[in-house]
Amino acid sequence: MKFPATLTTLALFCVAGLSVRAQDDAQRVMEAMKVRMQGAKVYDADMRIKVDVSFMKVPESKAHVHFEAPDKTTIDAPGFAMIPKQGADLSAAKLLSQPYVAVSAGREMFQGVMMRKITVIPSSESSEIAVAVVYVDTTTMTPRKVVSTTRKGGTITAELVYNDAAARVYCLPSYVKLRFDIGSFQIPKTMSGDFENSTKEAPKGPQQATVEIWYSAYRIR
């Protein structure tokens, strides 16, 4: 059975129209979140940071984050702290602070919730992120997962939880779990002083780091 040419053309137009609408919708969703994020002009929060790197043993540390619009983030720690260079400053906000193009990428289950998948492509060449996939919880309109690919080729995955109702209004998370690649670790024995062979060897090759950050005591102005 043959479709009439007009019907095929009409169908194609409908698909294209729906696709354009989906893209517009994706852009609108991201813009809506961006507006909410930009609502917090100045905020402070306490951070509890847990770093998990295969060749390191690090105690939990505490820090304090201070943000001032448009993009000034300061993180201070009273003692020792390892602050991830990307992600600790709430990467979704940073991602959307520059010009971007949002493309709908369908839907996917994440942590038992159906998420809207949106691919974000920063249009600025100065952006460190080449492309990011944002999983948006459409019921709360918050980004729950961000998978960013950097221009250097690394991947940063951020999973976000929003337990603080007041902070959630501004898409500010109460918990972030970051996963990213780090280089390989090798220390000469002359430096470590570990000449005996009974010591545990460091894992070889590039490693992955997992950083968990709990944000609390938000003071949003």
């Binding site: 770093v51 790197v53 060749f55 390191m56 043993k57 690090v58 105690p59 540390s61 820090a63 993180i75 201070d76 720690a77 003692g79 020792f80 702290a81 390892m82 602050i83 991830p84 260079k85 990307q86 990213f180 780090i182 280089g183 390989s184 670790f185 090798q186 220390i187 430096m191 470590s192 002083g193 570990d194 000449f195 005996e196 062979n197 009974s198 010591t199 545990k200 060897e201 460091a202 490693q207 780091a209």
Partner: protein, 279 residues
């Protein structure tokens, strides 16, 4: 009687200038290391953490007094045995060299009491050396560089919280005292065998060097021998800076060291009991 003998032995030990070589050497070295580490120590960390510097920003006072005390501890630990043997290697052989065995062993004091007093005097010297090292490293380190987390760089990096640092140092210095007393005990045993003090010093150092090299060479045939070498257990103080501390390994190493001390002391006692002082 023992106290009187001990007092005499301590007076003898501290009347010789060589006793102070160790104290002077440590007293010169530690301030230099502390100052150098305070000035350029961050380069040390930059090198160790270069794989992480792309991904993380390090906050806090990493090159603090505790970290420097740990580094000083590790650096001097290799050389302290030589300083320790200067006294314990000489304590019996020195009597033979100066021909005073006959004089001291003909007094109305048991030979075993004199030997025990000499052994205790050697051990006291060792402990004083460790305490001196601990005081200098900790006090100077904290005074110049403040306190903070200990950054332990071994085959892995361990960051130990500041509140978790002091007890580890106390135990580590205690463990190192045990290690150095083992070295001193070996030198003491060697000292009982010969009649000049250079021999025990060199023999003890040769034993340490040979055993350390065997411990470091990664060959399957040495795997069986390695756990039996006391040098392999002397570095047990480092385990106290692991998180969590592998206590069974710490106790095993401490037991091996105590075992060596007991064997060396008993053997030296037997040798001295049988020693012919008439010819």
């Amino acid at each position: 009687m023992m106290l009187a003998a001990l007092r005499v032995e301590l007076a003898k030990v501290f009347s010789k200038w060589r006793t102070y070589i160790g104290f002077i050497a440590v007293g010169l070295l530690i301030p230099i290391i502390v100052l150098a580490m305070g000035k350029e120590g961050n380069q040390y960390f930059s090198f160790a953490t270069q794989a992480l510097s792309q991904a993380f920003e390090f906050k806090g006072n990493l090159m603090n007094g505790y970290t420097v005390a740990y580094i000083v501890f590790g650096a001097l630990y290799i050389h302290i045995p030589f300083l320790v043997t200067l006294v314990s290697g000489d304590i019996l052989a020195g009597e033979a060299t100066s021909g005073t065995y006959r004089l001291i062993f003909t007094r109305p004091v048991k030979r075993s009491t004199i030997v025990t007093a000499k052994y205790i005097a050697s051990m006291l010297y060792v402990n004083m050396m460790i305490v001196w090292m601990a005081i200098l490293a900790m006090v100077l380190g904290v005074a110049f560089l403040g306190t903070g987390e200990i950054v332990v760089i071994r085959s892995q990096i361990t960051i130990i919280a500041e509140h978790d640092a002091l007890w580890r140092f106390v135990l580590a210095y205690g463990f190192s005292a045990l290690s150095m007393m083992t070295v001193a005990s070996i030198a003491f045993l060697c000292s009982s065998l010969v009649e000049n003090s250079i021999g025990p010093i060199m023999t003890t150092m040769a034993i340490i060097i040979v055993f350390t090299i065997i411990s470091a060479i990664d060959l399957p045939m040495f795997d069986v021998i390695r756990p039996m070498l006391f040098t392999n257990h002397m570095t047990g103080w480092k385990l106290l800076f692991d998180d969590p501390v592998p206590w069974p390994r710490v106790f095993t190493s401490a037991s091996v060291l105590v075992g060596h001390m007991v064997v060396c002391f008993v053997a030296a006692q037997i040798i001295m009991q049988r020693k012919d002082i008439l010819t």
